[in-house]
């Protein structure tokens, strides 16, 4: 599950690049060809892709946490199995994505260390709490829906290894979406308490959902070059409009209310109007000051530390150590 990222600006993204190679590279992309790991690529292309794929990978493992805490409390055995499978999928997606990022030259260890050190970002939505089961239903339906819109778009990008990973991820996300929709529909058709829980969860999640595809892109030469290189395919606003277009009617059809009185579709332009979702809050949360940032990173750190012996065993150090101990005995 992953929304859009914002791209840091650099003064001249192609400074010092060989103009002939750059022209070949751009011609190939313009023809719709994919770039493979062994190809020449501009430094800025590599840098932005590492950043984007790494953030996507982090979002998958961090995204497993808000839902994962509900596995022991899932209502019913089948839902427990489904949620387990979903969380397992998300962690698996992180593995596929770390591998895709590694092809660009940053090691998995380095990426994980940066995440734990708070140097890397991940999707903002996972810094919000999930106080009720209905929150997990809203995440599985609407956050995964937003992620599918983002990921199917990114799958049209230019970097081959990332596109291949995304194809597989989108296939699995289709289960998440359907499972989430089923959970929401079940609550929507449930008791007054269940309906109220669902509406409350939607109210809580609406702002993070509006943040999910990222703030409006700054129009700049830099954005233009990332679009030309097919690192970025559509603007954050375009992705958000697609999401609203596909899902607001479905939300309304369930008899739910979206907590934004300004939300409406202009029939003339087909564009959705909405209230300012407070991009100040978005910035605060993504920079570490959200309701759950510390908790999420602490859980991640604990998992990393608790798993140290497994990594040691896998690399054979434990075996060597025990053999050494036997020899001493």
């Amino acid at each position: 599950m992953y929304g859009s990222t914002t791209f840091a600006q650099v003064a001249d993204p192609v400074a010092g690049e060989d103009p002939d190679r750059l022209a070949d590279f751009e011609t190939r992309i313009a023809r719709g060809e994919k770039v493979e790991a062994q190809d020449w690529m501009p430094r800025e292309y590599r840098r932005q892709l590492i950043r984007m794929i790494e953030q996507h990978a982090h979002s998958e493992i961090m995204g497993a946490l808000p839902e994962g805490r509900w596995i022991p409390h899932a209502p019913g055995f089948r839902r427990k199995l489904a949620l387990l499978a979903k969380v397992q999928d998300e962690v698996g997606h992180a593995q596929l994505l770390y591998r895709a990022a590694e092809t660009l030259g940053k090691s998995r260890e380095h990426m994980l260390t940066d995440l734990l050190a708070g140097k890397s970002k991940y999707s903002n939505v996972f810094n919000y709490p999930t106080p009720t089961w209905a929150d997990t239903a809203v995440i599985a339906w609407l956050i995964d829906a937003g992620a599918i819109i983002n990921q199917t778009t990114n799958a049209q990008g230019s970097y081959g290894p990332y596109c291949r990973a995304l194809k597989r991820i989108c296939y699995e996300e289709s289960f998440h979406l359907k499972y989430g929709y089923d959970s929401v529909v079940t609550l929507a058709g449930g008791t007054p308490r269940q309906r109220a829980d669902l509406q409350d969860a939607l109210n809580r999640w609406w702002r993070p959902i509006m943040h999910f595809h990222g703030p409006p892109d700054q129009v700049s030469a830099h954005t233009e070059i990332l679009m030309r290189w097919k690192v970025k395919i559509k603007s954050n606003d375009a992705l958000r409009q697609e999401f609203l277009d596909q899902y607001v009617p479905k939300i309304w059809a369930l008899g739910l209310t979206v907590p934004d009185p300004a939300l409406r579709r202009d029939p003339a332009t087909g564009q959705w109007a909405f209230s300012d979702p407070d991009w100040g809050e978005f910035k605060r949360v993504i920079n570490g000051d959200g309701p759950c940032n510390q908790e999420r990173l602490a859980v991640r750190r604990l998992a990393h530390e608790d798993g140290a012996w497994v990594r040691a065993a896998l690399t054979g150090r434990a075996a060597l150590a025990s053999r050494a101990a036997l020899a001493v005995d």
């Binding site: 060809e33 994919k34 770039v35 493979e36 089948r78 199995l81 489904a82 499978a85 979903k86 999928d89 081959g160 596109c163 291949r164 289709s174 289960f175 979406l177 359907k178 499972y179 929709y181 089923d182 529909v185 079940t186 929507a188 058709g189 059809a253 369930l254 008899g255």
Partner: protein, 107 residues
Amino acid sequence: MPDITLADTEGELYEVFHQKARGEHHVHVGAVHAASPELALVLAKEQYARRLACVNLWVVRARDIHASDYIDADMFDHATDKSYREAFGYKVVGKTRAQAQTRDRDD
């Protein structure tokens, strides 16, 4: 009859993986015998990429491949019904329709 001793020209076996277009997965298409990886690439091109569209070939020394055993194929079977982790395992449309009808009746 002159004694003819054939020299071993087979070399090693290399499995060949073929990529149809950039962005696609490499797909296993066959194998060649060759004395070196470089030669295996040449032979793979001749045997597998003459007509088929191709942008990239991999050759892998067959003895470097670790394979599972067909006798153990049952390890890929699912012990139980796992439809809960497939999109087709959820029939939502019927539920939404029934709910909409109930709401219409109540209104």
